[in-house]
């Protein structure tokens, strides 16, 4: 067997939401809430001639990570781009509220959000948008209760729209090379502002603007991992113990961090310009080099922070 085939099964990008959960958590004891047999499906899709999914594209439940109890949600990026609809969003809201209510010594040690989403599901846009606001609200409540919320991004849909905002509301963000974290998608910008502003078919450009490497180097992502599920697992285990509290000091630090980024790089239009300004070695090659070589790069000063 080839060297690549052996690692295949454990590839985050390739895996389904359920396969990611299976590989991320300890082998025993994942309990799904509102599982597919309960058929909690979107009632809104039929009027758009679309069939639904038995779990509405998100799996929520409880399991253990390295022995510690955690709650977890995983979006299925292949179903309608992992987008937030009424049921989909409410499942996540319910999970986060459960975490908040269970906070304490016997409560969950973390909530893991395996995001894989294009943002709001247009067929139920209002419900999806409001769900995103409710999710953000609930994430903050969970964090305020002392439970870290970790975002794990590395699927084909990325974390766009409200999904990008949710990501940055979490305590920590783990991403692999394929991840894109952004608000407006490249196609949306191209449609609204023209191809000169953003050529969405130039995929290398897309990843330079919103890909995991760009985010990691400037501090938009806390941990960059090579794309196996095992690597996501190890990063999550390592990060649970070291998460910023949700408090004034944290947000003041984030205010400083983001202001500084804007001051230093506010006139850049492509990632290599940022990397050059920051004095990183061979900025024009950073998007091309192997993961190992990339991980050896010293991040931009301030990118490693507790300000989120």
């Amino acid at each position: 067997m080839s060297k690549l085939s052996q690692t295949f099964k454990a590839d985050w990008y390739e895996a389904s939401a359920r396969e990611r959960i299976a590989g991320l958590l300890d082998a025993e004891g994942f309990t799904e809430f509102l599982g597919p047999e309960q058929r909690a499906m979107s009632p809104h899709l039929a009027q758009f001639d679309l069939t639904g999914a038995f779990d509405d594209g998100i799996v929520v439940g409880r399991g253990r990570l390295d022995g510690r109890p955690v709650l977890l949600a995983a979006q299925e990026g292949r179903f309608l781009g992992g987008a937030f609809g009424e049921v989909h969003g409410a499942k996540l809201v319910g999970l986060l509220r459960a975490a908040r209510d269970a906070a304490g010594p016997d409560g969950p040690h973390a909530v893991l959000l395996l995001l894989d989403t294009g943002g709001v599901r247009l067929q139920e846009a209002n419900a999806g948008e409001l769900a995103i606001s409710e999710i953000i609200h609930a994430i903050i409540e969970v964090r305020s209760a002392g439970i870290p919320v970790l975002a794990l991004v590395g699927g084909r849909a990325g974390a766009f729209g409200g999904g990008g905002i949710i990501t940055a509301c979490c305590s920590r963000i783990i991403a692999s090379e394929h991840a894109r974290v952004s608000v407006s998608g490249p196609e949306v910008i191209e449609t609204n502002k023209g191809v000169e502003e953003f050529d969405s078919r130039d995929r290398a450009l897309v990843w330079r603007i919103c890909g995991a490497r760009t985010r990691y180097l400037t501090g938009g992502v806390d941990r960059y991992v090579k794309g196996s599920i095992q690597n996501f697992r190890e990063a999550a285990i390592a990060l649970i113990a070291h998460t910023p509290a949700f408090e004034l000091a944290t947000l003041k630090a984030e205010q400083r961090r983001l202001s500084e980024r804007l001051q230093r790089f506010g006139d850049c239009r492509d990632a290599p310009e940022i990397w050059r300004k920051a004095g990183l070695p061979e900025p024009e090659h950073i998007a091309e080099i192997s993961d190992d070589a990339f991980l050896a790069i010293q991040r931009i000063k301030g990118a490693d922070h507790d300000a989120r």
């Binding site: 309990t31 809104h44 247009l122 067929q123 974390a159 949306v188 947000l251 940022i274």
Partner: protein, 242 residues
């Protein structure tokens, strides 16, 4: 309504609210029975980008630091988030999230937060500028939307007429105040025929919900019938399995 109309109607005794860079608004005003309020905002139909978001978050955090629990009024007449390569490169998601978190922190520190929408607000700007306060009031001229119907038509490849017809029968995707009120996103709608000042004073007097009740409200208003039940079922299963 113009910004001046809104400010005059809200604060008839005067205010020290000034326009800042990137379409932002900041200053102090007084509300009868509540004393000082902090006013922030994004106005003039300006798209909400990284520059405005960091300024606004800074104003909010400064108010929190003042530890005076003064209410925060967020005036919004924006468009969508700034759709630009540069803003995305800089990590617009973090800036919008930061603004949202700052408003949540203010609420947690006892500041009553209210967003007043008197123009457009779409997509990410709607989340950060309108939905991140404890209450969202739609003033005359408010035109909130997640996505406009032509865009939905383009993406879903469904004919415009069919979508417009559908929009009349369900509040689940259509833009506008009424559908967003029905699903629980908009707390109140104020018409122009009565001054805003007493209504704001009244709103600020009402007890603050201890948690997010918007799904409950959406259920009561019959605009969002499933969200509350689904969330409750998940939470119940989680509690049962604990």
């Amino acid at each position: 309504m113009t910004l001046d109309d809104v400010l005059t109607s809200l604060f008839p005794t005067g205010h020290q609210v000034q326009r800042g860079p990137a379409g932002t608004l900041h200053g102090l005003a007084k509300v009868e029975g509540h004393g000082k309020v902090t006013v922030v905002g994004i106005v003039g139909g300006t798209p909400l980008g990284v520059d405005a978001a960091i300024l606004l978050a800074g104003h909010v955090l400064a108010a929190v630091e003042a530890s005076d629990r003064a209410p925060i009024v967020f005036l919004a007449d924006t468009s969508s988030q700034n759709m630009a390569r540069r803003d995305e490169l800089l990590g617009l998601n973090e800036y919008l999230a930061h603004l949202t978190k700052s408003l949540a922190l203010a609420a947690a520190h006892g500041h009553r937060t209210v967003s007043l929408l008197f123009g457009h607000a779409a997509a990410g700007a709607f989340i950060a500028a309108a939905l991140s306060s404890q209450s969202l009031v739609a003033l005359p001229g408010a035109a909130p939307s997640v996505m406009d119907i032509p865009s939905i038509s383009r993406v879903t490849k469904l004919p415009l007429e069919q979508l417009e017809r559908l929009a009349k029968s369900t509040p689940i995707f259509a833009p506008g105040v009424a559908p967003l009120f029905a699903i629980g996103a908009v707390t109140q709608t104020w018409a122009a025929d009565q001054p805003f000042a007493p209504r704001l004073a009244d709103l600020l007097r009402q007890p603050v919900p201890t948690s997010d009740l918007r799904d409950q409200i959406g259920l009561e208003r019959k605009g969002r019938r499933l969200a509350q039940t689904i969330a409750a079922r998940v939470a119940a299963e989680a509690a049962a399995h604990a």
